[in-house]
Amino acid sequence: MDTGDTAFMLIATAMVMLMTPGLALFYGGMVRSKNVLSTVLQSFVCLGVVSIIWVIYGYSLAFGPDVGGLIGNLDWAGLAGVGLEPGKYSATIPHLLFCAFQLMFAVITPALITGTFAERVKFPAFLLFTALWSTLVYLPVCHWVWGGGWISGHGGLDFAGGTVIHINSGAAALVAALMFGKRKGWGKESFHPHNLTMTMLGAGILWFGWFGFNAGSALAANGVAVNAFFTTQVATGAALLSWLIAEWLVQGKPTTLGAASGAIAGLVAITPGAGFVGPTSAVIIGLVAGALCYFAILAKSRLGYDDALDVVGVHGVGGLWGALATGLFATTAVNAAGKDGLFFGNPQLLGIQAMDAFTTIAYSVVVTFIILKVVDLVIGLRVSEEEEVQGLDLTQHSEIGYSL
């Protein structure tokens, strides 16, 4: 046990927890005023539902003793044997701290997905979906990549969860956007974000928390953590500027929401490579991420699916770019435990990165589809048209956001 590492991971874990309220605000500011509470609430509820799942069986399925490379067994259910001594995954910090850190990742992933079906989902449908998706999609994929499952063996790099979290949620979001269908008025009415200062605050909190997310993924206060911290900062700054400039060139105005969106795109894109690439590579990864995600979102309107808050365009596309970029820019000069990427003489890694990403997408798409079909049968996915017009806050929660 090392007190420095433990100190770092305790705070990093708290910072990752804060990302979920940050996301609630980031998303909440972008919906219309009549749906703000329902949007905010859905992220908060993930903090409840997933925490309980985690204690009962979640941690055990994700990280418990491996069963055929596919899933953990239930030996650690109820956190049996997950104690205050260092454990299998952490030589210098208590096992339970690793478990706490991983819990926060498991919380935010389904919260990310809520952006796609915002402004039209039935609250009970969201609840059932979240419980099922966490169990049937998140836990297995997490096990494959980090818990000793089949992916972890074959050499892909995912420093802080680009695949498990962003590609995974992005893929699920695409399926959900298609299955929920368009919001009433899509393409005719305008869907103004109702409070962009809230979105900016959310972006600031996410940026802050992401240092815990990425640097914390080193599981120690060491050089790799510092590298991850630094690359996170500069990739994010670069992506912020790059989105801003891209929209300035294309539409003639640099926007505030563009800056925030660019920052998140940068955070997403640097996630898988944060501990494997150097600062200059991080700047390039960020510059590409900002513009790329901007164009992905422009494309959305053409493709015609209604991913309300652009989970696909930011987390899906940004995450995919990040996974591939790690295959390009990774270098063992930064992290001896990593690998070299294409630009450092090893073309193989890129292929592995792509394969891991697409496997995850395939699994996530199929199982998300089945889950949503079941939820639709049992509860129904969408509120009625009239409820949609009145807003989810009043119809699902009997509250309104503001009486200013």
Partner: protein
């Protein structure tokens, strides 16, 4: 010169505006109001306390038109704002004695 005041459901505003625009109405003034009427309000709940809110968000459209246009405008609003459900709103017609355009000082017909 008449003033038409229409209280309608907010989500119908764009449709009504476009319809009026199509028939040559080039100006109008809109405000957010709250209506009380036959349409029943909603319940809100905060930490166990339940409140009945009777006032429902509506939009008020005010249009000054020549007397000859009144009927056509009223009908157009009726057609587009109508959903057939309670709470669709009302249209009132009031007399106006004079209209002046601030910029030019034009009055009457010329001013609208």
């Amino acid at each position: 010169m008449k003033k038409i005041e229409a209280i309608i459901k907010p989500f119908k505003l764009d449709e009504v505006k476009d319809a009026l625009n199509d028939m040559g109405i080039k100006g109008m003034t809109i405000s957010e109001v709250k209506g009380y009427g036959r349409q029943k309000g909603h319940k809100e709940i905060y930490r166990g306390a339940e409140y009945i809110v009777d006032f429902i968000p509506k939009v008020k459209i005010e249009i000054i038109v020549e007397a000859a246009m009144v009927e056509a405008v009223v009908n157009r609003i009726r057609e587009t704002a109508n959903t057939g459900k309670i709470g669709d709103g009302k249209i009132f017609v009031l007399p106006v004695e004079e209209v002046i355009r601030v910029r030019t000082g034009e009055t009457g017909k010329e001013a609208i």
